[in-house]
Symmetry: C2
């Protein structure tokens, strides 16, 4: 007698997770070295040593009542200040601790934003392909997800279709940059055009449209790709961040939301978001790891590791004849399925112990996602298997 | 332009938190030594040393990719097994790892249960006095809170009124044992009678009624008080636990939900709760602290500290003429206000730099709550001030 709302979730339990289980099953049969599991965005690069050092020094030097205790629901003020200062230095913004709310990762940060903003029936526009969990988050508040078709030429934002999908009911728009699942980085030109469309629609509809920028991959950009900091282009922006990828801490659930002063009724919005963080049951982001990331604002995982994987995989697959979007950010490679029904291609790949995620798991059939946050050897050893797979098609 | 649902929260932002700010303000004027702040349940006893040792050994011995990485949304299997084994040993239950879901504290655990169970309009019965946040949690899923009147003789559960408040719409009942704010421990007799009423109503209505037992204070019981483990008395029980109090880790947000096999459709319910944990945005409970608590299943904060506070405060206040419920558990003392409007009494106490929480913050006017999880000196030094306060009334 579970809630009716929960039943569809049981029926469609996350395909990505199911694949993760499949990876473990295959590994138990063939040995982990002979399974090429590109299905899950679980970073393979260890957290920077600074994180361990920071945690140990906090435990050794600080009062445990402080370290593990309650703080303001928005997080420790000095932690928020350290992060705000770092953002200001890097992006020329002028945030204070008051503009930041520490959250239980980006998943919780997105929920904080949506709970703060959505009345039932409000529309939230997302761009395909997208992380399907956005749909769960929007449904949590009885919002309505409106999907923009992909631009399959560039996989930049399809702003032509976006203009058609906006309506007076649009309350928020979610973007994700650098992008999961395509590895694309949305250009400054794209963000400027997006902002300009939103400005004019705000005028037309007479109410705010909030741009929620989900940025867990912000620091994972290659070849000097420029990742625009969105608050500088559009006032009603909320930035959602996570340390899951940049510091390889996905299990720790630590991130933040930035609500700049430029946001409409910012003081009320920040207060409501802080309450949303509390009443969602999270209360506050975990304390020890808050203190640790504040000591590591300049730390970063080894980008060179991902970059090598990226190049080796992209070069390897394209030379075998596969059509891939060249990844500029995050740690995903987006590949066109050589047959129309990419689920069949996913099954074909499994014969070679290659696990990839079908594009329909991101509302974009005909493509597959490869998460290359794996050991380099996995990439190198997978290529002969991909070669066998390619021979079935080309 | 925040959500309409969020507006009432802005107007009634937590009175307890406001008091916490007041405490800091008074401390800045009079010095912390001269402010007697009994307002917040933030433990003053440090976490057991075992926690620090466990965290450091995990960081030194384990692979950081494992320590900080994703795991099953329900938590690390070995962590759940360690806790299940410990519960089985202590309570004669027979849980496996599959019956446990690690959560972001009890707040999140309660939300996981309610999200799993509630359809809009479903009723959830709570017993006054109660933690008002239950109301926020129930509203998160458009449930309807139904309040049982307090039994102001004993502050055990008022089962006469409870029987009147049950209806065919009742989906769940929340209890909290040992009890915030009264410090009462519900007796085995009370739990047996509660279970028997629920059994007969399930029969009558032809559907399950879930008992959600919120137990963050389970280990905080004094004078050998027996705290019944509720799954043994009623099949459709979910236990929500947190290490916030037992290990003084409130800021870390670590706890769990137990869903026994005896719960109706337990497999489906466990699966739905695991999904609820994920889609709420939490994804999973924080990883490092999961690993740490599993190494400390037998650890406990210094109960003697709270016990001394409890006795000193209770004896001191009753000898001054105040009427108090003798606390048997948790770290709260529940006192009858000497004047009908306890908010006036709270204001009168502030003149002596004494901060207590009005009972109306727990839906039970005419009483006040004192959280005695403070330094012993605070208690000792407050008593002369309470004496001055008492002279205004007796």
């Amino acid at each position: 007698m579970i809630a009716k709302k929960m039943k569809p979730y049981l029926e469609n339990n996350s395909a990505i997770r199911a694949m993760f289980e499949e990876g473990k099953r295959l590994a138990s049969i063939y040995g982990a070295d002979h399974v090429y599991d590109f299905s899950l965005g679980n970073p393979n690069v260890p957290a920077p040593a600074g994180i361990r050092e920071a945690i140990i020094s906090i435990l050794e030097e600080e009062d445990p009542v402080f370290v593990h205790g309650y703080m303001s629901n928005a997080g420790f003020p000095h932690v928020r200040k350290a992060i705000a200062d770092n953002l200001n230095e890097r992006f020329g913004t002028s945030f204070t601790d008051q503009n930041l709310i520490m959250t239980v990762g980006a998943g919780s940060g997105l929920n904080v934003c949506l709970k703060t903003l959505l009345d039932p029936g409000d529309e939230v526009v997302v761009f395909a392909p997208y992380f399907l969990e956005y749909g769960s988050y929007i449904r949590n508040y009885d919002g309505v997800l409106v999907q923009v078709d992909p631009d399959t030429e560039t996989f930049q934002l399809n702003l032509e279709d976006f203009e058609k999908k906006l309506s007076p009911k649009t309350k928020a728009v979610i973007i994700n940059n650098p992008h999961n699942p395509t590895g694309v980085v949305f250009s400054e030109e794209t963000i400027r055009r997006l902002a300009s469309i939103l400005e004019s629609r705000q005028q037309e509809y007479g109410h705010a449209i909030y741009l929620i920028s989900d940025e867990p991959y912000r620091e994972l950009a290659f070849d000097g790709a420029f990742v625009p900091f969105v608050t500088k282009y559009y006032d009603n922006t909320m930035v959602v961040y996570s340390y899951s990828k940049s510091l390889s801490l996905p299990g720790e659930r630590i991130g933040y939301v930035v609500i700049p002063d430029e946001v409409e009724d910012s003081e009320q919005t920040i207060a409501a978001a802080t309450i949303a963080n509390r009443i969602s049951g999270c209360v506050n982001a975990p304390s020890l790891i808050q203190l640790a990331v504040a000591k590591c604002v300049d730390a970063q995982v080894d980008l060179g590791f991902y970059d090598r994987n990226r190049k080796t995989l992209y070069d390897g697959l394209t030379s075998l004849g596969f059509t891939c979007v060249k990844p500029e950010g995050a740690f995903y490679l987006w590949m066109k399925s050589p047959e129309k029904d990419e689920k069949k291609f996913v099954e074909a790949a499994k014969k070679y112990n290659i696990l990839v995620v079908p594009g329909s798991s991101f509302a974009c059939p005909g493509y597959v996602r490869l998460a290359y946050c794996v050991a380099y050897e996995t990439i190198v050893n997978s290529l002969p298997e991909f070669e066998k797979l390619a021979k079935e098609y080309f």
